[in-house]
């Protein structure tokens, strides 16, 4: 069964992925994804109705530790990487009107 992805789905995935693809890129991405999904569909040959999804290979649960600060004040080093900086803040485009 060949997968067919609609333009609307591609648009939606683009929003989730925060990617803006050109018309040409979009067509290529759609074809790539349809091909991959056809391939991924081979997983349906396996009956997994009695199998629990496994997210972690070892039976580890949440790992807790005391919230003790061990690192120093890296403010300057951290802000030095900012594409745009305003005093001690990261500067971003205006978000509210």
């Amino acid at each position: 069964m060949a997968n067919q992805i609609s333009d609307e789905t591609m648009e939606y995935v683009g929003i989730l992925a925060k990617l803006e693809l050109s018309g040409e890129e979009k067509e290529a991405a759609k074809a790539d994804m349809e091909k991959m999904l056809d391939y991924i569909d081979t997983l349906n040959e396996l009956d997994t109705s009695a199998v629990e999804p496994m997210s972690h290979v070892f039976p580890v649960c949440n790992v807790f530790r005391e919230d003790v600060v061990t690192n120093g004040d890296n403010k300057e080093q951290t802000l030095a990487n900012a594409p745009l900086r305003k005093e001690d803040s990261f500067e971003v485009p205006k978000t509210i009107g």
Partner: protein, 533 residues
């Protein structure tokens, strides 16, 4: 003294006895790297000044008796997806082309504690997504054994740097085979530890449930020593595991008597290059002669590992790479209208094609309506694959097979058909899904002289079994396949193929095409190598 031919441990011994200074070792490797880099491009950043400064500091710590370990003073390289404080860390992506981390990855810190001098950051597939190191924003790395071929990936820079003697050992990371496959293609020893053995703190995440850092080395002893240095329990990584054993070098013993080794029939069938198959069988015979018991068995589910992997890894990648949005670090698009448009433009301009492909796929399989059918289904298949390995390890101490279906492909032949490239990871990917340790060891050459590797797979926490088998093989074959690349001879071959063209380019003085430029320099390089001989 030719330091470059020594193993890391041999060099460490000479540094310890003051036969060689740390600065001498660093200078030797920097000189080699500067000569090789125009050809190989193993490094994104070669940190000459930083390495010389580290050398002085490490020498003082050795002289004061603080550093006594086997790797003290030995120059190493680190894959460019591991953060080092203040050092450019790019993940071979445009989006991190100006990122200087404020902290150092735990594995690198452990190396520094052991006295390593980090000479540079190695090239990789962008965000470790790829099998050839051709998706790097900073240009492909070439295979030191034949410059017309890829080194494999994604840790292609680390493996090429070790093979071309541009460092004594390196760190790589392995999400679906990214240490083992390029190690096999470059004729070096690479090991992916059991999930949780090496801290992922400071490793820029791709598929968090699959990623592990591991060593790339010239021989099995170096590999064990580096693993011993980097493995640790780390509170900063919630998936880090407190192990009972960290003394991996204690497994360096020539003894496989009675060791039960299984060869999956499903690995040795169609799709496997006959030369690779032949080398794997020969390696198995060597271990048999040393006393191991070799049997074939059906592992099952082999063909489902790749589709399950691409669902899980892409899903995790789409989430992990969400953070690259042009706000806190890295590249930001120049023109945009408003916040969301800035995100989209930054990411669309900053990521390469393969990364975007996987983010799109990952976003799709996690989206409502598809989550159960794809993502949860893949997690169920992962459980089945783990069970298949559990069953195998009830009968065998070790699984032996090829690391990859072929030797290194030619440059420029893999990216057009991503699905075909993905299939090249068929023997390595399931090991990540099951969280197991895997190791690649050189076992031969194909007709073109390209290295062939075998993969040893162990049960969880059984790195020592891998090391013991690999060491036994290495002793029995007298390291005949662990030979560093003769880049000068290999490059000469490339020049021979391009012959007149290379010379013509030099005559017309076209410096724009670096490939031709490199070839045009060949006759001089050969002459130099001739003098040394």
């Amino acid at each position: 003294m030719d330091l470059l031919h020594l193993t890391a441990i041999e060099l460490g011994r000479k540094i310890k006895t003051r036969e060689v200074s740390v600065t001498e070792a660093v200078k030797a490797v920097l000189e080699q790297a500067k000569e090789m880099e125009p050809e190989i491009n193993s490094y994104v950043t070669l940190d000459e000044a930083g390495a010389l400064m580290q050398a002085e500091a490490v020498q003082k710590r050795i002289d004061s008796g603080e550093l006594t370990g086997p790797l003290a003073g030995v120059p190493a390289a680190v894959k460019d997806n591991m953060c080092i404080e203040g050092k450019l860390t790019t993940c071979s992506s445009k989006i991190l082309s100006n990122f200087h981390p404020a902290f150092t990855a735990e594995a690198v810190k452990n190396l520094q504690k052991a006295g390593a001098v980090i000479v540079g950051k190695t090239n990789m597939d962008e965000f470790a997504m790829g099998s050839t190191t051709e998706t790097s924003y900073y240009g492909p790395t070439k295979n030191p054994h034949n410059l017309m071929h890829v080194p494999g990936g994604s840790s292609g820079g680390s493996c090429a740097a070790v093979a071309a003697q541009e460092c004594w050992y390196a760190l790589g990371s392995d999400t679906g085979g990214s240490i083992r496959q390029p190690s096999s293609f470059c004729g070096v020893v690479g090991l992916k530890p059991t999930y949780g053995t090496v801290s992922r703190y400071g490793l820029i995440a791709y598929g968090s449930s699959l990623d592990q850092i591991g060593p790339v080395a010239r021989d099995v002893s170096d590999c064990a020593a580096v693993l011993e240095a980097i493995a640790s329990h780390d509170e900063k990584d919630s998936t880090s595991i407190q192990r009972k054993d960290y003394d991996f070098t204690s497994a360096l013993a020539r003894d496989v008597k009675g060791m039960k080794i299984g060869i999956p029939r499903d690995y040795m069938r169609e799709g496997l290059n006959p030369e690779v198959a032949d080398a794997v069988w020969k390696a198995a015979r060597v271990l048999e002669e040393q006393g191991a018991v070799i049997e074939e068995f059906d592992l099952s589910l082999v063909k489902y590992a790749i589709p399950a992997y691409y669902v899980i890894a892409s899903a995790e990648a789409s989430s992990n790479l969400e953070r690259f949005d042009g706000v806190k670090y890295g590249y930001r698009a120049a023109d945009y209208e408003g916040l969301h448009n800035m995100y989209k433009k930054t990411r669309s301009e900053g990521f390469g094609a393969e990364v975007k492909r996987r983010i799109m796929l990952g976003s799709f399989v996690l989206s409502s309506g598809y989550y159960d059918a794809y993502y949860l289904k893949a997690l169920c298949v992962k459980a089945l694959i783990k069970q298949a390995f559990d069953r195998a390890f009830e009968s065998y101490d070790l699984i032996l097979g090829p690391a990859a279906p072929t030797t290194a492909p030619e440059l420029g032949k893999s990216l057009q058909d991503p699905l075909k490239m993905y299939l090249g990871d068929i023997y390595t990917i399931s090991v990540n899904l099951a969280g197991l340790p895997g190791m690649s060891v050189p076992i031969g050459r194909d007709r073109k002289g390209l290295p062939v590797g075998m993969q040893l797979i162990g049960n969880s926490f059984q790195e020592k079994t891998l090391i013991r088998a690999a060491y036994t093989y290495e002793c029995a074959t007298e390291k005949q396949f662990e030979v560093s690349a003769d880049v000068r001879a290999g490059a000469g071959m490339a020049a021979g193929q391009a012959g007149d063209c290379g010379r013509a380019c030099r005559q017309t003085g076209d410096p724009g095409d670096s490939a031709f430029q490199a070839k045009s320099e060949m006759p001089d390089v050969q002459a130099k190598s001739g003098r040394e001989a």
